[in-house]
Chain length 318, copies 2
């Protein structure tokens, strides 16, 4: 198969690139390196079946050029940070919704008809059903990030109906593991390097979240996309468990051998649009035979070990 | 109140303008006249409390200028035709999603915080629950039109969460009545003027749809927006009944005294993205004391009478 991966230099994208190459596929990576890292493609770049295209998803011609001739587009390029929407109200719309339209339109114009998309559990807003299934009650959006991902989902489904695409929408919880470059483990570890005796925590520490190890995430994507044939296939992807932010702090501090003073900002939510409880019902994905291999705790430790071995990553983000 | 109405020269927009003026409000109409009619604003244009701004919703500066100083934005400007999405895959995204983002952003930058939005029952896709309530199971989009309206809904809700907007989302069935300028009554009447002995019908005639008379629609909007104070208020708007396309044909032909031969294109759907059954649960709106005054049949007859008295409208659409 000839596969395109957008966001190929990102955390999940680069992991998917490596797995696709290992499975024997031809892979074109597409990335604008706005948040991705060339280092994550070190292995791929010396692989004979890998090709890198530097380009922006907002440049329709560049996207058309990249996807022409592909069998499958794995569209992971996105603004992946849920937290700063209110500071940049256009960014999510551009990088998630309009970029996705460009990918779809580039595919339509070049005759490519299969796409997988990295959506988010944030599209459920602050739901009242846990674990939340894919067909939960019609949610109300609470973040620009979730809204822009939902917009992309809608466009993808509409293209499936209008132009006979086969589409895969994966609603992720937060993903953990090697090449992780933003999120609470990143923030906490950086803080503890700077001041091992204290940790500032957004919210009250009781936010409950589910997580998933990146290789388990990629395994699910590869399994579903090679198995399912419906026009629209929607899957939640997450662990069968959740933890409190405080649990995560305990594991991180324990791994580092620290006992920091915890300073809570307070409130149920870590930021505007934060959902105090995210826990997805993944039985639809499990019915395909998938099961995560790592627990949340194991995923957090792997993440820490990666950051400890790759301190340069910490220096690249504000 | 100082109200802005986008799409002010359109079918529903111009009707809302007249009602707001009649209630004593100051009204600014905003329209680019791409599909609106100056004739629909004849009364408003001579009213001392009405101001018209010709501008495009894709021009953020123009929108900012229009909304500055307003108390309430009634955002009805849109691509309102569900049928031709696949012919113009970018149009719905531009005119529904991005235009709505411009309105929200213009409001944010000028300190305006209340908005009502004309969404659509098409956001339910091909649902399996009838009548369909606002919190029906998370739908899968089947049209670019529905997807773009859902994108706008999501942005509106996210702005409510991020910037303390008070927002109103109305999911319309097809609206009927005076100033109606596109849709099946329009198409059928024009056909029957050209050839009274036959009528080409999209689909098999058994598509089931609900409709609502435009004055009943505007009454609901005015009631909900003056009553509800939640950050996000979502209401279905439709009649408590539905009819088959064949019922509608019978009423139209009967009113015109014709017995045309019916030529069905066949199939469950009239076009790509058509939903074979649209019937919304409007009990949430009814709980506010609202009830439609006209039946679907009465609405269709009013529509026909308007078109008979305003044949110029028929000449303006391809």
């Amino acid at each position: 198969m000839k596969a395109i991966v957008t966001g190929a230099a990102g955390f999940i994208g680069s992991t998917l690139v490596d797995r696709l190459l290992a499975e024997g596929h031809d892979v074109t990576g597409f990335d604008n390196f706005s948040t991705g890292f060339r280092q994550f493609l070190e292995g791929a770049l010396v692989h004979p079946r890998f090709r890198l295209i530097e380009g922006d998803l907002l440049d329709l011609d560049a996207v058309k050029h990249a996807v022409a001739g592909a069998d499958f587009v794995f569209h992971l390029g996105a603004n992946a940070d849920v937290r700063f929407g209110p500071d940049h109200p256009r960014r999510d719309l551009d990088q998630n919704a309009i970029a996705t339209w460009n990918v779809l339109e580039a595919m339509r114009r070049t005759g490519v008809r299969r796409i997988a998309f990295s959506s988010t559990g944030s599209v459920y807003g602050e739901h009242h059903v846990f674990p939340t299934p894919e067909d939960a009650a019609f949610p109300v959006q609470t973040s620009l990030y979730g809204a822009s991902k939902l917009a992309a989902e809608g466009l993808i489904s509409a293209y499936a109906a209008a132009f006979e695409f086969r589409t895969f929408i994966f609603r992720f919880v937060s993903i953990l593991g090697e090449r992780y470059t933003h999120g609470h483990v990143f923030d906490f570890y950086r803080q503890l390097l700077a001041h091992p005796d204290r940790l500032d925590v957004l919210g009250n520490g009781h936010q409950r979240k589910s997580y998933l190890y990146v290789q388990d995430c990629v395994s699910a994507i590869l399994l579903a996309t090679s198995t399912c044939t419906a026009p629209v296939n929607i899957f939640n992807l997450g662990a069968a468990e959740y933890c409190e932010v405080n649990d995560s702090i305990g594991w991180i501090a324990g791994h580092l051998g620290l006992k920091p003073e915890l300073r809570y900002a307070g409130g149920e939510r870590g930021w505007i649009g934060d959902s105090p409880f995210i826990f997805l019902d993944c039985s639809r994905m499990r019915a395909l035979g998938w099961t995560p291999k790592l627990t949340i705790q194991q995923g957090i430790i792997r993440t820490l070990e990666f950051l400890q071995a790759n301190r340069w990553v910490l220096d690249t983000r504000k």
